[in-house]
C-alpha cells in the first residue's frame, strides 16, 4: 500500500468518525429539544398529540437521514466530477439510476397511499352518516326540549298556585304538599321541588315514576333560574341509571328571597339509554370530525415514515451496490491510467468476488506479466546497449586502426559495391573516396591497370592472395592483394574484404639485398675457383722459371685444375643465367595425376627403403597452370625431401582441392628445418646443404608466385617438413 492509499484510508476513517459524531450530536440535540418541548408543553396537549409528535420527529429524523445520505453521495460525485476523477461519469449514471429507480416508485407509492388514506378518512365523514347521527341527536334533543317545555309550563303554573303560600311558615307545609300533589297529577309531572332561593322547602314525587331518589339540582342551577327567571337542566346523577329533565321557574317576592319551583320528569331508563346513545354517537362523530386533520396527519405521517424508511433503505442499498460496482471500476480505471503512465508496479487492491473480481485478478496478472516483460526487455536493452557501446568502441577502434593501418583495406558487398575503404587504399590506388565508395568495382576499376584487381576479385574463390604489379600514377607498384570472403552468422556470403599491401619498396629492398647477397655469393663463388687457378698458375710459372723437370706433370695437373674450376664457374654462371631468364608461366590444361605419376617415377629407385606415396583427389585432377614449371617445382621439392629423409622413411605427395584452389603438399619424415632457416629458405643463394647455388627454392617461390599462388613451409608430425603450395585452379 503506497502513501497515497494509506492517506486515503486514514481520511476515510476520519470521515466515519466525523459522521458518527455528527449523528450523535444530531441525536442528542433532538433528544434535548424533545425534553424541552415536553417540559414546556402541558401534559394534556402532550397526551393528545403524542402520536403525532412522535411520528413527526421520526419523520424529520428520517428525512434528514435520507437527505444526508443522498446529499453526501451527490456532493462526493460532484467533487469527483469537478476533479475529473476516473469513473466519476459512470458512477454518476449508476447512482442517478439507482436513486431514480428507488425514488420514483416509492414516491408514487407514497402519493397513492396518501390519496387513498385521505379518501378513506373523507369517506368516514360522508354526509349520510353525519345526517343520520345529526337526526338522531336532534330527535334526542327535541324529546328533551319538549319534556323540558312541559315541565317549564308546569313549574310556571305551580309557581302561580303557591304564590299565596307562605313558604317560610311550617304550618302551611301541609297545604303546600296538597297543592304540589294536585299539580303533580294535573300537570303530569314526576316530581316537584320547591326552594326559597337555594334553600330546600318541600318536594313531592309521583310514586308511579318508580323507585327514584330525589335529585339535587344544585345551587348554580337555582341561581341561574333566579337570575334568568327560568332554567332547564338534564341531570344524570352519578351511580344511577335515571335521567332527570328539570325545569325551574323563579318568582321574586316583595319580601324575602325568591321562590323557586323545579318541575321534573324521570325518563324511562330504556328511553334514556337510547337517547344517550344517540347523543354520544353524535358526539363521538363530532370528536372524530374535529380530529379529522390529526387523523389524516397521523396516517400520512405513518405512511411517510414507512416511505422514508423504504427510501432510506433503498437509497443506502442502491448506493452501496453502486459503490460495489464503481469502486472496482474506479480502481481499474486508475490502475489503467497508472499502467499507461508506465507504473507497472501498481496493483488493484479491491475486494470483489464476482466478475469484477475476475477482471481485477486478470488486470493484476496482466500488469505483472507486463512488468516481467519490461524487466526482461530492459535487461536485454541494457545488454544490447552495452553491446552497441562495445560495438561502437570496436568500430571506432576498427576505424582508427583502418585509418592508420599501412595496408589498404576495402570491403565490397555481395553486389560488388565498395562499402568501406581506408586512406591507405585510396593512396595506393590513386583514387578518391568519391570514385570508390558506393560504386561497383566494374565502374571504379574499369581502366586497364586496375582491371587486374577487378579480375582478381571476380575470380577469387575463398581466400586469395596474389601479388599484382600495377602502373599507377606513372610508376610501377607491386601490391600484395588478399581477398577474403565475408559471411553472415548463417553462412550467407555478404561480400569480400580486399587487403592491399604495397610491396614495392619491400621488393626493391629485397632486390637490393638479394643483389648484395648475390654479389657477395658471386664474388665468393668466383673467388673460390680463382684461388686454385691462381695457385696453379703461380706453380707452373715457378716450375718454368726454375726449369723444374716435373714441369710437364705440373703443367698437366695445373691445367686440369684450371679447366675444372673454370667449368665450375661456367656452371654457376649458367644457373644464374637460367634464374634470371625464367619465363612467365604459360597455363595449359594439365592432368595433374599424370604429371604426379611421371614426376614420382623418377625417384622410384633412387633411395631404397624410402617409401614414396602420392595422392590426387578427383576434383583437382584437371587443373590449369604451366606444366613444366610446376613439374620443376615438384622435382625441386622432391629432390630436397628425398635427400633429407633418411631410410627408412617416407615422402608423401598429395594434391587436394580447397576453396577453389589446388593444394599441393610434399611431406617428408626427415629431421625437419629450424625456424631460423625457414625464414630464409626462399631467399636466393641461401642453402642449408653447404653446396649448390641456393637458388632452388627461390626458383620454386618465383614459379608459385608467378602462378598467383602461395607457398609455405611447416613442421610435419611427428617429424619432418611439409611444403604446402596453393595454386588457383582456374
Amino acid at each position: 500500500m503506497n502513501l497515497r492509499e494509506r492517506l486515503l484510508r486514514h481520511r476515510k476513517d476520519n470521515r466515519l468518525i466525523f459522521a458518527v459524531l455528527a449523528g450523535a450530536l444530531l441525536f442528542f440535540t433532538l433528544v434535548y429539544y424533545l425534553i424541552l418541548r415536553s417540559q414546556e408543553t402541558p401534559s394534556g396537549l402532550l397526551t393528545n398529540s403524542l402520536l403525532l409528535f412522535v411520528l413527526r420527529y421520526i419523520d424529520v429524523v428520517l428525512i434528514l437521514a435520507v437527505l444526508f445520505v443522498l446529499l453526501r453521495d451527490l456532493l462526493k460525485l460532484w467533487v469527483e466530477r469537478q476533479h475529473r476523477a476516473l469513473g466519476s461519469k459512470f458512477k454518476t449514471k449508476l447512482v442517478a439510476t439507482y436513486i431514480a429507480l428507488s425514488l420514483l416508485p416509492v414516491l408514487l407509492l407514497f402519493a397513492y397511499a396518501t390519496e387513498l388514506i385521505q379518501g378513506s378518512v373523507e369517506n368516514l365523514f360522508r354526509t349520510p352518516v353525519r345526517e343520520v347521527l345529526e337526526q338522531g341527536n336532534a330527535i334526542s334533543q327535541e324529546l328533551t326540549e319538549r319534556i323540558a317545555a312541559v315541565n317549564q309550563r308546569g313549574a310556571d303554573r305551580v309557581l302561580g298556585q303557591i304564590a299565596d303560600v307562605d313558604l317560610d311558615d311550617p304550618r302551611q307545609r301541609s297545604r303546600l304538599g296538597d297543592v304540589l300533589t294536585r299539580s303533580l297529577r294535573d300537570e303530569d309531572l314526576d316530581l316537584l321541588l320547591v326552594y326559597r332561593e337555594t334553600q330546600f322547602v318541600h318536594a313531592v314525587l309521583d310514586p308511579s315514576a318508580g323507585p327514584v331518589q330525589l335529585p339535587e339540582p344544585g345551587s348554580a342551577f337555582l341561581l341561574s333560574a333566579i337570575r334568568e327567571g327560568r332554567a332547564v337542566r338534564v341531570m344524570a346523577p352519578s351511580g344511577q341509571d335515571q335521567r332527570f329533565i328539570l325545569a325551574a321557574s323563579a318568582l321574586r317576592g316583595e319580601d324575602g328571597p325568591p321562590a323557586v319551583v323545579v318541575a321534573g320528569t324521570v325518563l324511562d331508563p330504556e328511553i334514556a339509554g337510547k337517547t344517550e346513545s344517540l347523543v354520544r354517537a353524535y358526539q363521538n362523530y363530532r370528536q372524530l370530525e374535529v380530529q379529522k386533520p390529526e387523523i389524516k396527519a397521523s396516517y400520512v405521517l405513518l405512511i411517510l415514515m414507512v416511505t422514508l424508511v423504504i427510501l432510506l433503505t433503498s437509497s443506502w442499498v442502491g448506493l452501496y451496490l453502486a459503490r460495489r460496482v464503481t469502486v472496482p471500476i474506479e480502481a481499474l480505471a486508475e490502475g489503467t491510467r497508472r499502467v499507461a503512465e508506465g507504473d507497472l508496479t501498481h496493483r488493484v487492491d479491491v475486494d470483489a468476488d464476482d466478475e469484477l473480481g475476475v477482471l481485477v485478478e486478470s488486470f493484476n496478472r496482466m500488469t505483472g506479466e507486463l512488468q516481467d516483460s519490461r524487466l526482461l526487455l530492459e535487461s536485454k536493452n541494457a545488454e544490447l546497449l552495452g553491446a552497441n557501446l562495445r560495438l561502437d568502441e570496436e568500430r571506432g577502434l576498427f576505424s582508427t586502426v583502418l585509418k592508420n593501418v599501412a595496408a589498404g583495406v576495402l570491403s565490397v558487398d555481395h553486389e560488388g559495391r565498395v562499402s568501406t575503404c581506408n586512406d591507405a587504399a585510396l593512396a595506393m590506388l590513386h583514387q578518391s573516396e568519391d570514385e570508390l565508395l558506393g560504386r561497383p568495382l566494374e565502374e571504379s576499376w574499369q581502366d586497364g591497370e586496375r582491371s587486374k584487381l577487378r579480375e582478381l576479385h571476380r575470380r577469387a574463390r575463398g581466400r586469395t592472395r596474389r601479388e599484382v604489379q600495377l602502373r599507377l600514377g606513372g610508376e610501377w607498384k607491386t601490391l600484395e592483394v588478399g581477398i577474403t570472403p565475408l559471411h553472415d552468422p548463417q553462412g550467407t556470403p555478404t561480400g569480400h574484404v580486399i587487403v592491399l599491401e604495397d610491396l614495392t619498396e619491400l621488393i626493391q629492398a629485397q632486390k637490393l639485398a638479394t643483389w648484395n647477397e648475390a654479389a657477395r655469393r658471386v664474388a665468393h663463388e668466383i673467388k673460390n675457383p680463382l684461388t686454385p687457378i691462381r695457385l696453379s698458375a703461380e706453380r707452373l710459372l715457378k716450375k718454368y722459371r726454375e726449369g723444374d723437370p716435373g714441369l710437364g706433370q705440373a703443367l698437366e695437373d695445373g691445367v686440369k685444375t684450371i679447366v675444372r674450376e673454370v667449368a665450375s664457374m661456367k656452371q654457376m654462371v649458367d644457373e644464374f643465367s637460367r634464374f634470371a631468364r625464367m619465363p612467365r608461366p604459360q597455363p595449359t590444361e594439365v592432368d595433374l595425376e599424370e604429371l604426379m605419376r611421371e614426376t614420382l617415377q623418377l625417384y622410384r629407385d633412387v633411395k631404397p627403403g624410402l617409401d614414396l606415396a602420392w595422392t590426387v583427389t578427383s576434383e583437382v585432377r584437371r587443373a590449369r597452370f604451366d606444366k613444366e614449371q610446376v613439374r620443376g617445382v615438384l622435382i625441386n621439392l622432391l629432390d630436397n625431401a628425398v635427400e633429407a629423409t633418411p631410410v627408412p622413411g617416407s615422402v608423401d605427395v598429395r594434391a587436394i582441392g580447397r576453396n577453389g584452389s589446388v593444394v599441393l603438399q610434399v611431406a617428408d619424415s626427415g629431421p625437419g628445418i629450424s625456424a631460423e632457416a625457414k625464414e630464409k629458405l626462399f631467399l636466393p643463394y641461401y642453402s642449408t646443404k653447404g653446396r649448390g647455388s641456393g637458388l632452388g627454392l627461390a626458383i620454386v617461390h618465383r614459379i608459385v608466385t608467378d602462378h598467383g599462388g602461395t607457398i609455405k613451409v611447416e613442421d610435419n608430425r611427428p617429424s619432418g617438413t611439409v611444403f604446402t603450395i596453393e595454386l588457383p585452379q582456374g
Binding site: 408543553t41 402541558p42 337542566r233 341531570m235 344517550e276 347523543v279 374535529v290
Partner: protein, 198 residues
C-alpha cells in the same frame, strides 16, 4: 381605451385590479384580526400569597369551540413566572407556576365542566351550561393563588410574566409550531406592598 390614472399593466388586465384590491382587503382584514393576548394582568396579596388575575382575549376561536362542543377535553395552559430581571444572567426565573384550564362538554346533560389545575393539582371545578359562561370560565382568571409571598430577603424587583399556550399547529405539516400569546409582563416593585406597573 386606457383609463387615466391607472397603470398600463392593470389597464390591460382589468381582473388584476380587482384581484389586487381583494388581496389588499384580505391583508387589512388579517392585520385587523386580534391575536390572542393576555390583558388586565394584576396581582393582589392576601394571606401571604400573591393572587394573580388576568383575562385571555380572542383565544377561543370557532375551531376551539367546535373542539369543546365535540366533547374532547380542551385545554388552555397558562404559564406564570416570577423573574429577576438580570441582563447577563441565564437563570432569570425565580418561580414558576402552571395553570391548566380544561373544559369538557357533556352532550347528555348539555353542560360544560371546567377544571382548574395549578401545577397539576385540581384547585377548582365549575359547571356552566352555555358558551358565554364557558368562555368566561376559561379565559377570566380571578385571584389565582399562584405564588407564595417571600417574606425573607425578597429580591428588590420582580417581574410577573404570564403566557397562555393554545396548543400546537404543524408548520409545513411536519414541524410543530406552538401557538401562544406571548408573555404579558407586570413589574412587582415591592413584594411586601404589591402593586402593578406596566
Amino acid at each position: 381605451m386606457p383609463e387615466p390614472g391607472r397603470p398600463p399593466a392593470l389597464q390591460s388586465f382589468p381582473g388584476m385590479w380587482k384581484a389586487l384590491v381583494s388581496l389588499l382587503l384580505l391583508l387589512v382584514g388579517a392585520t385587523g384580526a386580534q391575536e390572542p393576548r393576555i390583558e388586565n394582568l394584576h396581582v393582589t396579596r392576601q394571606n401571604g400569597r400573591i393572587l394573580v388575575s388576568f383575562e385571555l382575549l380572542d383565544a377561543l376561536d370557532d375551531e376551539m369551540l367546535e373542539r369543546v362542543q365535540s366533547g374532547l377535553p380542551t385545554e388552555l395552559a397558562f404559564t406564570l413566572r416570577l423573574e429577576r430581571p438580570r441582563v447577563f444572567w441565564f437563570d432569570k426565573v425565580f418561580e414558576r407556576s402552571t395553570l391548566q384550564v380544561v373544559a369538557m362538554y357533556n352532550a347528555v346533560t348539555r353542560e360544560y365542566l371546567v377544571n382548574y389545575k395549578l401545577d397539576g393539582r385540581l384547585i377548582d371545578s365549575r359547571v356552566v351550561t352555555d358558551l358565554p359562561g364557558l368562555e368566561r370560565a376559561m379565559t377570566l382568571i380571578h385571584s389565582l393563588p399562584a405564588f407564595e409571598v417571600m417574606e425573607e430577603s425578597p429580591p428588590a424587583r420582580l417581574q410577573l410574566t404570564v403566557r397562555a399556550d393554545l396548543g400546537s399547529k404543524p408548520f409545513l405539516f411536519l414541524f410543530p409550531n406552538r401557538v401562544d400569546t406571548g408573555w404579558a409582563r407586570l413589574w412587582l416593585v415591592e413584594p411586601a406592598a404589591p402593586g402593578a406597573e406596566r
